[in-house]
Symmetry: C2
Subunit: 245 residues, 2 copies
Amino acid sequence: MLGHLARRLGRMQQISNGLKLFSEEPHRHLQTSLETIRPLSMVSLWPFSSQPRDFSQPNSSWSPEMHKAYDHYNALCDTDTENGEEKRGPWRKLPSYNRSIKYATGGIHLSKLIQAKARLFTRNVKEQGATFEYMVFVNKEEKRCVCVFQAGHLLEGAPGHVHGGAIATMIDTVTGTLAGFLSGPVMTANLNIDYRSPMPLGSVVLIHSALDRIERRKTYITCKVTSTDESKLYTEATAAGLQPN
Amino acid sequence: MLGHLARRLGRMQQISNGLKLFSEEPHRHLQTSLETIRPLSMVSLWPFSSQPRDFSQPNSSWSPEMHKAYDHYNALCDTDTENGEEKRGPWRKLPSYNRSIKYATGGIHLSKLIQAKARLFTRNVKEQGATFEYMVFVNKEEKRCVCVFQAGHLLEGAPGHVHGGAIATMIDTVTGTLAGFLSGPVMTANLNIDYRSPMPLGSVVLIHSALDRIERRKTYITCKVTSTDESKLYTEATAAGLQPN
């Protein structure tokens, strides 16, 4: 698959005069540059620049509450130094880009994948703070993750409140991220969402996801959306992710 | 509520020099212009111009398949003329704006509602064809509706395919529209979605929703998403809408 993708990208490089592909290494052979990168990540395959924007980094649209929640979980990702030895904790912050190229499986997807205009739904608006501001922290040992999410003014459903579809989008994203982290690439097979309380626009919430069970090709995840102090429950959900054959 | 809203809008008019409110009637008293409009609709309350854009109208981003499906259902909305008498059929096309002000209930919502920047989630991107292109046809007699939906390139989830959250968003929108049409304003209480087949970006699909039952304050809706010839099933879902107290 990698070789196929590299050839495609190579052809794209030849035909797209206006775009700068792998701009920091313009003379290096593309196949080689792809092969030397471990693990395969979107950073390496990003076709428009060598350093795509990581949307999960703090920006000026974040409220103090968002910063506080971010700082709390980010601190859990620090490495501990014991007896002169570095020990990495179980928490890890995942980067977030506006394409999901790392899940490319080639074949019929590939021509769509190369469509330069396609963008990840949750990262498709450039204005910071307008839609989905979020980052995901995963804990591999405990098989769970937490997403800190700030809901922007372009996510309106009922007046002044976040659209049920925007909440579903974040639940799909976070449960899919955890299922993918634990089981490899999955497609969402089922989402069952109970909306317990309307969420005002501008809210900062935590989306907690945990592994329920894995049965054959299906990974079952539970999810709840709460206020950052966890005192208020906004939404509860279950999700099932299916590994493709 | 109306008077309160009018006062708010009046104050907004005073403080926002850059915006033209009710531009076709600049010298008319705002309270009067609001009172003369029946029924209360978003058209009348739209604060930025007297004629907001109806996003459900055909535009140049629509594919031939989208136009064909639109034409099919639009023809069902025509009035029949029998014995010199006009008879309106059961189908009706609903307009679609980028605020849902018509459901304003005042009180705590109002300050949020006046936030000039908030936009309906499904209509928040200006570029035609980039995200959600859709319109909804309702049939009151049969208590059902059909939405024609074209999925734009900014709705990506898995490479080349529509994000599960974008599909959930349309299901929430269409089932909520039908529940609201039959029972008055509702908030989504539950969405249960089975994703049967991945939907490629650019697809045109039909979202069929029908009333299942109404129990006290809850309106239950069934939903399925199919290809326009209805031969392929993409998604099945149920939704429950709750009428606020």
